[in-house]
């Protein structure tokens, strides 16, 4: 297998300790769990998505574990502005604050709360199961561009996280790029549903949810590859990454780094385990492989 040389990593304006980033919404609500992920080897962490008002999330069940992935509809629970307190405990760490809103003004407002503490922002325009937010605005290139511009007023690196639930993900990627995004994160979860045949009802409280984990890896690789052909800003691959080989594959598709979420369920120490396999003193430079599958 290919190994990478351990070098300082700078991706999308964020200086990270390695190429592996904790994905938004996974153990991301408290400073203590975010620190834990950094200690266990994450190169940077993205927080739970923070919005304009506190939200308690959807009624349960909010998540089910499938054979090859997870399906969740958390409903964007978050402490809103009070998350400032958590962030204080993380000052100096590579923390990207995920934010969401229903329009550019809300994105601007929420970003403002964290402008002095975040290393960067990640715009969640892609959660597939919260009405009025996420993918409901992330399927419209004009709104995505406007939200990106609004957040960029704070002069911080801005990553825009895209939904795969669109006919053409590149049109959204290009909108983010035009809005001044420093990187694109692809992908958020894939809209999905399972039904309990015993209860004769959808298993998630919100009925619809988002599929993540291994099942969506081939979809995520495809999106990264498409975006690499269409856009010129850095891409962070996300979706089903669960081993070092997957990281290399995402990089070859065009990703500068990856985010990892669901794999935590099978292995809470996933970051240190992937690092062990991915890096070696005689490894090659990531530059050699990022996008190399485009030939």
């Amino acid at each position: 297998m290919i190994t990478l040389s351990p070098e300082p990593v700078m991706m999308g304006g964020v200086s990270a300790r390695n190429h592996l980033v904790l994905a938004a919404g996974v153990l991301g609500t408290c400073a203590s769990s975010l620190s834990r992920m950094l200690r266990s080897g994450a190169g940077a962490v993205v927080t739970k998505s923070i919005g304009p008002e506190p939200r308690f999330g959807h009624p349960g069940p909010c998540l089910v574990v499938l054979e090859d992935g997870l399906m969740n509809a958390m409903g964007l629970p978050n402490p809103s502005k009070q998350f400032q307190d958590e962030l204080s405990a993380l000052s100096g760490e590579p923390v990207i604050v995920s934010i969401f809103g229903g329009n550019p003004e809300q994105f601007h407002e929420v970003a403002g709360w964290f402008a002095d503490k975040a290393q960067a922002f990640e715009l969640n325009v892609s959660c597939p199961h919260a009405s009025g937010f996420g993918a409901q605005i992330g399927t419209n290139p004009d709104i995505v561009k406007a939200c990106t511009e609004a957040v960029k007023e704070w002069k911080k690196p801005a990553w825009v996280k895209l939904t795969p639930n669109v006919t053409d993900i590149t049109s959204i990627g290009k909108a983010a790029e035009e809005g001044g995004a420093d990187a694109i994160v692809a992908i958020n979860t894939v809209r999905a549903m399972r039904i309990s045949t015993g209860m004769r009802r959808p298993v998630l409280g919100n009925k619809y949810g988002g599929l993540s984990g291994k099942a969506i890896f081939p979809i995520a690789v495809r999106c990264v590859y498409e975006l690499y052909e269409a856009c010129s800003i850095p891409i962070i691959g996300c979706g089903g990454v669960s081993c070092a080989e997957d990281v290399i594959e995402m990089m070859m598709a065009g990703a500068q780094g990856v985010e990892i979420g669901s794999a935590i369920v099978r292995d809470p120490d996933i970051f240190s385990h992937i690092c062990k396999d991915l890096y070696a003193p005689d490894g090659i430079s990531p530059r050699e492989i990022v996008g190399c599958a485009h030939g």
């Binding site: 153990l27 506190p54 349960g60 909010c62 499938l66 309990s196 045949t197």
Partner: protein
């Protein structure tokens, strides 16, 4: 980690344990370690964490929407069960069990299944004591009530004064946060933290260590996966008894 979609179970029997507490039995036993919990789906309302009081039952204290629907359910109705989840107690030797209120439920199997158990049980009043008779047949039960209507008049931690902790190999504790913090303080003073295990409660959504809603300060451990059972030592400097986070992640006292 148990996996998959909720398993559908049918309720077979409903037993009222006290005015506010009800046990619901279902048609399936879940292989589980004592201390593990399940996520109980009350269709149309919510999914909530519950200890397995028996392998085929949960014992519910009515506090809000989901628990209110649960205690009103009838045989023949259905529930969805995910799990069991979490780590469970490590039980050996002579055991001291200390419970407060509905916290007796997660410890019931300790009293019923282990050979040498002393059970300290607290409740607000005599009629809120649960499983008292059943446990008395199996182990040495001592009672405390806040109003003195049964046993020792005061908190359950007070019962510890009459206990020689050195005699015990394992100490298991479950109850409301303030009760557990005060027990923890006593055990700490009497140098018995090492053999103690506390069954923690935090707001849970996923049950499998991914959503982060049940994380505790300062270590960022997940109650659902790293717990719910924690050694007293590891809780000394924790948020226990000080605050917890609600469904939105906001700190509450």
């Amino acid at each position: 980690m148990a996996e998959g979609l909720p398993v559908t179970v049918t309720i077979t029997k409903v037993v009222k344990e006290s005015p506010g507490v009800t046990t619901v039995f279902f048609d399936r036993e879940f292989e589980s370690c004592i201390g593990q919990f399940v996520m109980v789906w009350v269709e149309g309302t919510d999914e909530i964490p519950m200890a397995l009081s028996y392998k085929n039952a949960i014992t519910i204290q009515r506090v809000g929407d989901a628990t209110t629907r649960l205690v009103a359910m009838k045989p023949g109705e259905k529930l969805g069960i995910r799990g069991p989840f979490g780590n469970g107690f490590r039980l050996h030797g002579k055991i001291l069990a200390i419970s407060g209120g509905a916290g007796t439920a997660p410890l019931l199997r300790v009293g019923l299944e282990c050979p040498d158990v002393t059970f300290l049980m607290g409740a607000r009043t005599a009629d809120e004591l649960i499983f008292h008779k059943m446990l008395t047949e199996k182990c040495d039960v001592r009672v405390a009530t806040d109003d003195g209507s049964a046993g020792f008049h005061g908190y359950v931690a007070g019962l510890l004064d009459e206990i020689s902790l050195d005699e015990y190999d394992t100490i298991v504790v479950c109850g409301p946060d303030p009760m557990m913090r005060s027990v923890l303080s006593v055990l700490q003073k009497r140098s018995s933290l090492e053999k103690s295990q506390f069954s923690m409660h935090r707001y849970m959504k996923c049950g499998v260590g991914v959503c982060g809603s049940c994380c505790m300060d300062p270590d960022g451990l997940c109650v659902c996966r790293d717990g719910p059972i924690f050694s007293g030592l590891s809780l000394q400097n924790s948020e226990l008894g000080k605050y917890h986070r609600n469904a939105a992640g906001l700190k509450e006292k």
